[in-house]
């Protein structure tokens, strides 16, 4: 089982690297560029060119492959440790990576925007590479973490939220780059803005669920549901930034770049929350 865990993790990494290379190649290659010129927006509406473009199809296949391998690795690890991926940074990172790949595939299937897919793959790859640098030893659960069901849901909700937010970050930063530096008219970027918006609609309730389940666990384990622990506070800040986006979007003066930049800010807050336990102590100080 331990062999299977590390082997499928390696396979996932390789598939992800291949997929990233193919995706990036698809963005810069002449074929990719032509497709971009035809479509008003990056990759939008180029379903036809995707069918003729072998690289596009096989990069998706590689991504599916990576997702399967990662699932296998997580399942194998869970069968050894007897619990979900929530006991240390290595397990979180692999789970987070799984969430990003799943979200990337979902949005690829729904919207077929190459740039977003490429950014999703690159973020997932960065995270998996990071996971590789972390100690992955199987350590028995400390008593406070022996709350398997609640914690599994807590981490699963975080996986969905963070995964979709990563895609939102891809769409939002693409929007900003094209709007600010390439002077693309706002009208033709509407599909990108729509994806970014959809992402928040999908992710936000899950982010809320993550925080509530975390509070519930804190209440059971530490005797208080909220204690302004840095990790708690920074998850609240993340939640507030996305809440701000949802409100900003309906304001006339905030439409477009201004509200979209809140999504970028939101994802930076996600990263801050995620890696926070390295720079501030607190009760979430797992290695």
């Amino acid at each position: 089982m331990a062999h299977m865990e590390s082997f499928s993790l390696l396979a996932a990494l390789i598939s992800l690297v291949l997929s990233a290379v193919m995706n990036l190649w698809g963005l810069v290659s002449p074929g990719g560029r032509r497709a971009r010129k035809h479509g008003a927006v990056v990759g939008s509406g180029d379903t036809a060119s995707r069918k003729t473009n072998g690289a596009g199809l096989s990069s998706t296949m590689m991504l599916v492959m990576a997702l399967l391998c990662l699932t296998m690795s997580i399942a194998a690890r869970a069968s050894i440790t007897g619990h979900g991926p929530f006991s240390n940074m290595y397990e979180f990172s692999v789970a987070f990576c799984w969430g990003i790949i799943a979200a990337t595939l979902y949005f690829h299937w729904r919207y077929r925007m190459k740039a977003i897919t490429a950014i999703g793959v690159v973020i997932a790859l960065a995270l998996l590479a990071y996971a590789y640098t972390l100690p992955s030893r199987h350590v028995p659960l400390q008593p406070a973490l022996q709350q398997s069901l609640l914690l599994s849901f807590h981490v699963a909700a975080a996986m969905v939220a963070y995964g979709t937010f990563a895609i939102g970050f891809g769409a939002a930063s693409m929007y900003l780059v094209r709007r600010q530096y390439l002077d693309t008219p706002a009208g033709s970027l509407e599909p990108l803005e729509d994806v970014a918006h959809r992402v928040v609609l999908i992710g936000f309730p899950f982010m809320t669920l993550t925080i509530v389940l975390g509070a519930l666990w804190a209440d059971i384990s530490w005797g208080r549901y909220w204690g302004w622990d840095p990790k708690e506070t920074s998850s609240l800040v993340t939640w507030l930034v996305y809440a701000a986006y949802l409100h900003a979007r309906v304001l006339r003066g905030w439409r477009g770049s201004k509200s979209v930049s809140l999504i970028v800010l939101g994802f930076l807050a996600v990263l801050f929350t995620y890696f926070g336990n390295y720079f501030f102590g607190g009760l979430h100080g797992y290695q």
Binding site: V139, P140, Q142, P143, A144, Q146, Q147, L201, I202, F204, P205, T208, L209, V212, A215, L216, D219, I220, S221, W222, G223, R224, Y225, W226, G227, W228, P230, T233, S234, L236, V237, L240, V241, A243, A244, H247, A248, V250, L251, W254, G276, F280
Partner: protein
């Protein structure tokens, strides 16, 4: 004023302001938030934690309240204004939500479809108006819409909606935030929290805080995995109220015991010793278990110690155990250090050792170190805001999923016949232009078109 309170701009500014305050609260070290009124505790924290870190800025930051930012006006004022704003918005919205649930008027003026709607002309004789109307209604029904219709001289009006209760979700979501704020205030004002109530095995301690409760730990067990990592901590406890036993239970990590709203959590544990002190006449002066729950810094070793006072004797007894974090060469197995102090500042006058299971005479008193025991550190809390917090959280989640996953959609249609008998269908989606109803609109008009063309095909077949 009302206009300002209900404006999205205000809400947005407040949300962002609270986020910034939160960020400051993360970056700046915060005074640990134990029960209020620990003034000395805060000063000590400022000197030992804040001063080395922030130097001359410490006083400035402290006077601005930034070390307790979540109890300062920086945080409380925007939260309070936000709460008022949420209430105002909810009042404002009530009409709109009632409108959404009832579905609003079915009949709309033709002009309603001109701006923001789209019309489909049906070629002559392809479909009769009643067929067309039925087609539209069926298409809407199949997509899960509730369909209402009304005929008028202008034609047949159709109003369809889906997830009409979803706007209640927005309501719930926002009002639940008020509940969360209320719950939080209740928790911090009426609740209490004692993070370490040290109870030695076999001993009993009062909970205090007006609860009238006392807790005794019958036994404490720590279990370890074969690798040496902690696996489980268990305290078998009995709770008393006014001297009467009211509850027995096992406290484990993640499994608190609660009685009458007071909850007991497993927090820490450590060594304790069972000690008896007699005077030369054989009268027992002291017989209890003493928790060695403090730490004596003796670098590189940290030794646990505890103390008790011999009643009536003016003598304070300190007991020091061997270091917990490594071998302690100064102690033999089963040995503890004992120091006697007089309580009149004369200082220490006896220092010696006690061996478990033996009796020793110190300063004319007989000390019996009967047994090695353990103590259990319990966290005791009462949180009257809890129920409100979980109700609020539940409503928040239900509300958010309802609004964002099952958005309210409306489609209006009018099926008419023009002067020469051709059918015409006009459709318009809502409640707003960007409400994601486009896919439904497209599907309905596609179905109508399909209906027209299949009828067409059927007719062609019939003709041939």
């Amino acid at each position: 004023m009302w206009h300002l309170l209900t404006s999205v701009k205000l809400a947005l500014s407040l949300i962002l302001a609270i986020a910034v305050v939160g960020l400051i609260g993360i970056v700046l070290d915060q005074v640990p938030g134990h029960p209020a009124g620990q003034v000395g505790g805060k000063d000590r924290w400022l000197e030992t934690v804040a001063r080395p870190e922030y130097g001359m800025w410490t006083d400035v930051l402290d006077s601005l309240g930034l070390f307790q930012i979540f109890r300062s006006p920086w945080f409380l004022v925007p939260v309070a204004v936000l709460a008022v704003s949420i209430l105002a918005c909810s009042v404002n919205r009530w009409k709109q939500i009632r409108g959404a649930i009832s579905g609003g008027p079915v009949r709309r003026s033709p002009g309603f479809y001109v701006d923001g709607g789209s019309c489909l002309q049906v070629p002559f004789n392809r479909a009769s108006v009643p067929d067309l109307a039925r087609g539209v209604q069926d298409a809407l029904g199949r997509r899960g819409f509730r369909v209402r219709s009304e005929s008028s001289p202008e034609g047949l009006h159709i109003a369809a909606d889906k997830n009409r209760f979803s706007p209640i979700g927005t309501y719930l979501g926002h009002l639940s935030l008020i509940l969360l704020i209320l719950g939080f205030i209740l928790s911090s004002c009426l609740g209490f929290r004692n993070v370490s109530l040290v109870v030695p095995e076999g001993g009993m301690r009062d909970v205090g805080m007006g609860t009238g409760l006392a807790v005794s730990v019958r036994s404490f067990t720590a279990e370890y995995w074969p690798e040496g990592e902690p696996k489980d901590y268990r305290s078998e406890v009995t709770l008393y109220r006014d001297g009467m036993e009211v509850k027995q239970g096992t406290i484990r990590v993640n499994h608190p015991v609660s009685y009458d709203g007071v909850r007991f959590y497993q927090s820490v544990f450590g060594p304790a010793v069972s000690i008896m002190v007699e005077n030369p006449e054989g009268e027992v002066l002291f017989d209890d278990v003493v928790a060695l729950s403090d730490v004596l810094e003796n670098p590189p070793l940290q030794r646990p110690f505890g103390s008790f006072t011999i009643p009536g004797g003016g003598v304070i007894v300190y007991l020091v155990g061997p270091a917990l974090d490594g071998p302690d060469p100064s102690f033999n197995a089963g040995e503890i250090g004992v120091k006697l102090y007089s309580d009149d500042s004369a200082g220490m006058f006896v220092t010696d050792r006690l061996q478990v299971g033996t009796t020793r005479e110190l300063d004319g008193l007989m000390f019996t170190y009967a047994e090695e025991r353990q103590f259990s550190g319990l966290e005791v809390s009462k949180d009257p805001g809890n129920a409100i917090i979980w109700t609020g959280s539940g409503l928040l989640i239900v509300g958010l999923f309802a609004v964002l996953y099952f958005p309210h959609r409306q489609i209006w249609a009018i099926v008419q016949e023009d002067e020469i008998g051709r059918g015409q269908v006009c459709l318009r989606g809502g409640p707003t232009r960007r409400s994601g109803v486009a896919a439904d609109l497209e599907a309905v008009s596609r179905e109508v078109q399909k209906m027209i063309s299949t009828r067409d095909a059927g007719r062609d077949e019939g003709r041939s």
